[in-house]
């Protein structure tokens, strides 16, 4: 029985397609519409890595799952790679929902303590401008605005503890030039 599935793989922000065709014990892989090559992936090192063979070339990739949405932590020869994989249909559905680069919402990504807020509601900010400082692990972490625009809301106060996912500041992006 031949099964064929298509995936979208994101490697350090660059999008690739991969077609996996499996027939019995044999698996073939076609990357970015190129030629199909026999391929296998064998979990090794106690599940901490995968020994990948594509067209006879063997590599060991260290991999662990970062989230439940296809995000992976990958390391190749000590170099970290941002990797994610998604079924092609799901990738298309997500793309249809829109979304693009640069968000106006600053969200805490680690738990910490707000120690400085550099903006006020109504204030205009440039992309890259410091907005808020969160201290964690004895270090100060300055968060900058991802967009140019106007501060709509400051959701936290100095001295407040925040957790990952907490919204800190909302900035209304200025219309593109």
């Amino acid at each position: 029985m031949l099964t064929r599935r298509n995936y979208v793989v994101d490697v350090d922000g660059q999008r690739h397609t991969a077609e996996v065709a499996r027939s019995g014990d044999r698996t073939e892989l076609r990357i970015d519409g190129g030629a199909a090559a026999p391929a296998s992936a064998l979990p090794v090192l106690g599940g901490r890595a995968v020994c990948v063979t594509v067209g006879g070339r063997r590599r060991v990739v260290h991999l662990s799952r970062a989230d439940t949405r296809g995000g992976l932590r990958a390391t190749l020869d000590g170099r970290p790679v941002t990797l994610s994989v998604m079924d092609e249909l799901r990738a298309q559905a997500l793309q249809a929902q829109g979304g693009g680069a640069g968000s106006g919402t600053l969200v805490a990504d680690i738990p910490g303590l707000v120690i400085d807020i550099r903006v006020q509601p109504g204030q205009a900010v440039q992309q890259g401008e410091p907005v808020i400082v969160v201290e964690a692990m004895k270090m100060q972490n300055e968060l900058t605005s991802g967009v140019s625009g106007t501060v709509q809301k400051v959701a936290v106060a100095v001295g407040q503890s925040v957790n990952p996912g907490d919204v800190l500041v909302v900035i209304e992006p200025a219309p593109a030039d």
């Binding site: 793989v9 090192l45 170099r79």
Partner: protein, 510 residues
């Protein structure tokens, strides 16, 4: 209590610290046949240091101010567990003279220097004065605190701009400001005094020549507390980010044998000047021309002590314990030599691409590098959730090689062999550093990272073959997860069935 007046026997030691240094001290104590007591806060319930000790005493909630910094809790824990001595490690209370006094007042041995040494060395102005009297070179500048901008300007004109305004009670890169002209002096002095008063409760400020492109050289010393002292050669710690060391090496590539002899002798003089007891480190600034100046003395074991251990063959924790027991230094200067080269890499949960901001999370995968010339001192393990409350140092990778090029090559091998996934960390940064010409030729200064590191373009490019392997790994594993090749087993909706797949694959069940 002891039979001989000068010896302080103890058979159990409480380690008033956490993380890798607590683990390393426990290892050292165990090798001497000494019982070990750890202390742990709430989030450190399952921390490695609490697991490897013979006993572990709970000392309170997460904030260090309610646990690791509470002197009475530590002393009570030591008494409760029958410990006769306390080892403070580094950080926390290790350089707190009050803690040293409280420990001794409780009838326990403090494994470290006297409170008096700590007090002199904890105050930059006092230690500068002490060193000037002892003939140890200090950076040109004022001998006393300066409150009047006019006095500061006079001094600056004598020694030449730029100068540094420095808080006497500061440290770790805090409480300093560069001044490049007389016009800036008044406001700079006002601001620095304000900050110092607020941060350290002491607004004493002094003026010092600002050394451009300096190197950070430090010398390990051991003192017997009676004026006897030896040195264990130097370490160079010029690779810093956020004013904190991140890679250290020993020997320093910047010293000639003659300069090494002089700087080490200055360190011994420093230790003798305060009748130093135990292990300490004298830090110097090395100017490009070869002039060196006393910076400060750290009155404790340093994070980077292992490189000295590898090069000299001396175990510093063992030496600390021997001295604390009143057995003296037990090592003669003439028996010491430097063999080979050692490098230490601080493995921190931080993101080099985001200005080294701390990162947290569970250690999802960890396989230490092994084989020749590799040492790992770790405070974490696979499965451990790194607490946010303490510093981001997870482990230290230390390598030794026959010479500097071989130590670097071995470090590259070991850094690549080190599997660590979970929090973002700086192992890739270390690989970056080892590739830089300024690191390889040893000319790097404390400005190395700020000058050379571009956080947007520091990772090596991926080759086409790299991409192929990554795409294949991701696609094939996702395919296996969605439709396992094995009969029966359904896809695991919650994700991670790779470990199980690994088990199947490795037991031969396809």
């Amino acid at each position: 209590m002891s039979k001989k007046p000068d010896t302080h026997p103890f058979d159990t030691v409480l380690v008033a610290n956490r993380g890798e240094i607590a683990v390393r001290i426990i290892q050292g104590l165990r090798e001497m046949g000494i019982g070990t007591v750890a202390v742990y806060s709430e989030p450190d319930r399952t921390a490695l240091h609490a697991l490897v000790a013979d006993e572990a005493v709970f000392i309170g909630p997460a904030p260090a101010s309610e646990s690791y910094l509470v002197m009475q809790k530590l002393i009570d824990a030591a008494k409760q567990a029958g410990a006769g001595a306390i080892h403070p490690g580094y950080g926390f209370l290790s350089e707190n003279a009050g803690f040293c006094r409280a420990v001794e007042a409780a009838g326990l041995v403090f494994i470290g220097p006297t409170a008096a040494s700590m007090e002199v060395m904890g105050d930059k102005l006092a230690s500068r004065r002490k060193m000037m009297q002892s003939g140890v070179p200090v950076v040109p500048g004022t001998e006393d605190a300066v409150r009047d901008p006019a006095v500061a300007i006079t001094c600056a004109e004598k020694i030449g701009y730029p100068v540094l305004l420095k808080a006497s009670a500061g440290g770790g890169g805090k409480g300093m400001r560069i001044v490049r002209s007389a016009a800036d002096m008044a406001s700079a002095l006002r601001q620095t005094m304000g900050e110092a008063g607020q941060s350290f409760g002491n607004d004493a400020i002094f003026v010092e020549k600002y050394i451009e492109n300096p190197k950070h050289i430090e010398v390990q010393v051991l003192g017997d507390g009676k004026g006897g002292a030896i040195h264990l050669f130097e370490r160079e710690c010029s690779v810093q980010r956020r004013h904190q060391k991140v890679i250290e090496e020993s020997p320093s590539p910047s010293l000639t044998p003659e300069l090494r002899a002089r700087i080490c002798e200055a360190a011994v003089q420093t230790a003798r000047a305060v009748d130093y007891r135990g292990a300490g480190t004298v830090e110097f600034i090395l100017a490009p021309g070869g002039a060196f100046y006393f910076l400060e003395m750290n009155t404790r074991l340093q994070v980077e002590h292992p490189i000295t251990e590898l090069v000299t063959g001396i175990d510093l924790v063992h030496a600390q314990v021997r001295i604390a027991r009143g057995e003296g230094i037990g090592i003669r200067q003439e028996d010491l030599s430097q063999r080979g080269w050692a490098l230490e890499f601080r493995v921190c949960a931080e993101d080099p691409s985001r200005n080294f901001a701390p990162s947290i999370g569970r250690i999802e995968a960890m396989s230490p590098p092994l084989g020749p010339g590799v040492r790992l001192d770790t405070g974490v393990y696979e499965g451990f959730e790194v607490p946010i409350h303490y510093d981001p140092l997870l482990a230290k990778l230390i390598v030794w090689g026959e010479d500097r090029p071989r130590a670097i090559a071995r470090a590259q091998r070991a850094l690549r062999d080190f599997t660590l996934q979970g929090p973002t960390h700086n192992l890739p940064f270390h690989l970056w550093a080892l590739d830089q010409p300024a690191f390889r030729d040893g000319t790097y200064t404390t400005h190395f990272v700020e000058k050379c590191f571009d956080h947007t373009a520091w990772l090596p490019a991926l080759t086409d073959l790299d991409r192929e392997a990554l795409i294949a790994a991701a696609a094939l594993l996702e395919n296996e997860r969605r439709a396992p090749a094995g009969a029966g087993a359904g896809a695991d909706a919650h994700g991670d069935n790779w470990r199980r797949a690994a088990r199947r694959a490795m037991t031969g069940h396809k």
